[in-house]
Amino acid sequence: MGKRSNWALPYIIFMAIFVVAPLLLVGYYSFLDNEGALSLYNFEKFCTSYDTINTFIYSIGIAMMTTLICILIGYPAAYFMANSEYGTPKVMAMLFILPMWINILLRTLSTVALFDFMKLPLGEGALIFGMVYNFLPFMIYPIYNTMQKMDKSLIEAAQDLGANRRRVFRDVIMPLSMPGVYSGVVMVFMPTISTFAVSELLTMNKIKLFGTTIQENINAGMLNYGAALSLIMLIIIGLTSFFGSDDDESNETGGLL
């Protein structure tokens, strides 16, 4: 493919300065204990802290649930919007992201008001609702885009070869839309763990997510521990996605061959 991989160079340089270097600076703080000496104190603290690990695993659970629900709701939505046979207006996609332009605090507070109005209890259910509410557009958009450009001839070819509707969907449309789903999963799963405004308001802070823990520590002046916690989260989640993205090369060939 030649030198085209160099096109990523400007962004790589940008990331080196504005993502990697700052991360190293924050990482430096995570290796300082409370007296300012270099040590693994913060990491030991995490490993021995039942609460924090508990919160971390719980947050992963919430993120998984949110992602799954987003896929369940978002995939059909994207499918209906991308296929002209359903006659959806073109601007419908924009309508999904419009609520996001209202400030998150205001949005969440009015969700609380909505729950109060409908006499629904706040708590875990409300939390999941709030999370899905906030991240659904991030799932719909990539899937929608992928489906829009789906090569119709492939579908026709499958139909010509005698596949019924379900097979066409399962063996042609679904695999081809996977890159979009993958993007969506990444854009929903990862930020969910670090979002705290939603859990603070929709559970009255009774349910804590990992992002809240980090926030709490930094707001209480424990910058070192907060930095360590976010570094740990980065490593665990980053590495799992690092090894999980093996599927990329199969997507290049569309999974048909």
């Binding site: 508990n54 695993i57 930094i218 424990m222």
Partner: protein
């Protein structure tokens, strides 16, 4: 096209350099860093006028707001931001003193300018002096108070009887299950609960509230944690700013909060027909303060000290109080006259605050804003937790609790295994494909080989 792109980038870099280095003439600018909604904003313009009158120099105030003390401290300590005058909470002032981040306030305003710094109530000056981090340090050289208050129960008078909230044990009253909102502020709640947990010792004279709140011991942390755990059934949530809203809507009946917040809520709900009141329970509580300080990185300390002076003026103090609903540290007769209200039937002893002024021992004044002597005697000053900070935060974390239950855990494990299985299946398919291909290739070359022989 290429030229246009390079021109664009040059312009971008130029703007970068310019904005990073540009500064107005700094002596004409005063950077103020205060809490949001914590000032009568009209005073800013009036200060600019007053400053020019007094010094003959023009001044422009850049007024900025923050919401978390510690983040403001990070900006100043690590970022060395050049705010001229800042209004932190008392424990952060103590921390800044300890870290030598403050410069003394120049109190020499010349013969023609009035000096209102003495308007601060001696009661407050004494409390501030308790924060001295070195022997011989005069805290009032570095910090001048702004507003103050207490922590207590904000409660709904229709749903809660006053007798029920006389004591912090209301937290264990099962009638209030899921009806109490706690402020998510571990320092204040600790101060309050440590008085509750050691009440017998206080009554016996074995220990004072001041020392209980100032000296944080592991044993007391444990006692407080235990006390809070037992209250969890009644606690509906841990709020920072939405407590007032839920009280207004009567979703919560009691809110452990600060007196300033309580004032806001009482006034707001009165318009809606909901009656709230505020009380400091008998076991004790804390009294909190905030104050103006000048960080060492300030570039205009002269204007900063004039600002602090201006804020201590009695009339300005009253205006601030009326605008934001909190209580000023200024203890002059003008303030006393402005804040007394003959419509209030009872009288309260505020002689500790408006010291030396006639009639201060029986004022018709709002007791939520100005606690009676009997109330203030059971309030202690909070200190910077210093090295106990970490333990306190951990305790607080444990109290607020964990949400991981078996259902969620099984869900996670199921999803995780499903993903692993999917990846394994995927790799298996690839491996099998490759194997099939290799086999087929082998057969094909073998066939070709055989055919070649026969031909």
């Amino acid at each position: 096209m290429k030229h246009r792109i390079s021109a664009f980038f040059i312009a971008l870099v130029a703007t970068f350099v310019m904005t990073a280095t540009a500064q107005n003439d700094r002596s004409n600018v005063l950077k103020v860093y205060n809490w949001a909604d914590y000032l009568d904003l009209e005073l800013i313009g009036e200060f600019e006028q007053w400053y020019e009158e007094q010094t003959g120099e023009p001044i422009k105030v850049m007024y900025e707001t923050f919401d978390i003390n510690e983040n403001m401290l990070t900006e100043i300590e690590i970022g060395q931001e050049d705010y001229d005058v800042v209004c932190p909470s008392e424990y952060i002032i103590e921390r800044m003193l300890r870290k030598n981040l403050l410069q003394p306030i120049n109190k020499d305003f010349g013969p023609n300018t009035p000096n209102w710094l003495g308007n601060v109530s001696p009661f407050v000056v004494d409390k501030f002096q308790q924060m001295a981090t070195q022997p011989g340090m005069q805290v009032s050289d570095y910090a001048i108070g702004f507003m103050w208050g207490t922590t207590g129960f904000l409660y709904n008078t229709r749903l809660v009887k006053p007798e029920e909230v006389e004591s912090w044990s209301a937290l264990y009253n099962e009638r209030f299950q899921e009806r109490i909102l706690m402020k998510d502020a571990f320092r204040d709640i600790y101060s309050v609960m440590v008085c509750y947990a050691n009440y017998q010792d206080i009554l016996d004279g074995k220990v004072s509230r001041d020392s209980l709140v100032a000296n944080i011991t592991d044993q007391n942390i444990y006692k407080v944690e235990d006390a809070l755990f037992r209250a969890k059934k009644q606690i509906a949530g841990w709020e920072v700013d939405f407590g007032k809203e839920r009280m207004t809507q009567e979703k919560a009946w009691i809110n452990v909060t600060w007196s300033g917040d309580a004032m806001w809520a009482i006034e707001e709900t009165a318009e809606l027909g909901v009656e709230l009141d505020y009380v400091v329970p008998k076991e004790g509580s804390n009294c909190w303060f905030d104050g103006w300080v000048i960080p060492v990185y300030a570039k205009n300390p002269k204007a900063a000290s004039y600002w602090i002076n201006f804020m201590c003026n009695s009339e300005n103090a009253v205006r601030n109080m009326n605008e934001i609903g909190y209580v000023s540290v200024i203890g002059t007769e003008e303030v006393m006259d402005a804040m007394t209200d003959d419509e209030i039937e009872e009288t309260y002893d505020l002689s500790y605050f408006f010291s030396g002024i006639d009639g201060a021992d029986s004022l018709h004044i709002n007791p939520v804003m100005y606690p009676d002597r009997s109330v203030i005697e059971r309030c202690a000053l909070m200190h910077d937790c210093a090295d106990k900070n970490e333990d306190m935060l951990e305790m607080w974390s444990r109290v607020k609790g964990n949400s991981l239950d078996t259902e969620m855990l099984t869900f996670i494990i199921v999803v995780f295994t499903a993903i692993l299985a999917a990846i394994a299946w995927h790799h298996f398919k690839k491996w099998r494909k490759r194997k099939m291909r290799r086999l087929r290739l082998k057969e094909f070359t073998k066939k070709m080989h055989d055919k070649g022989r026969h031909i």
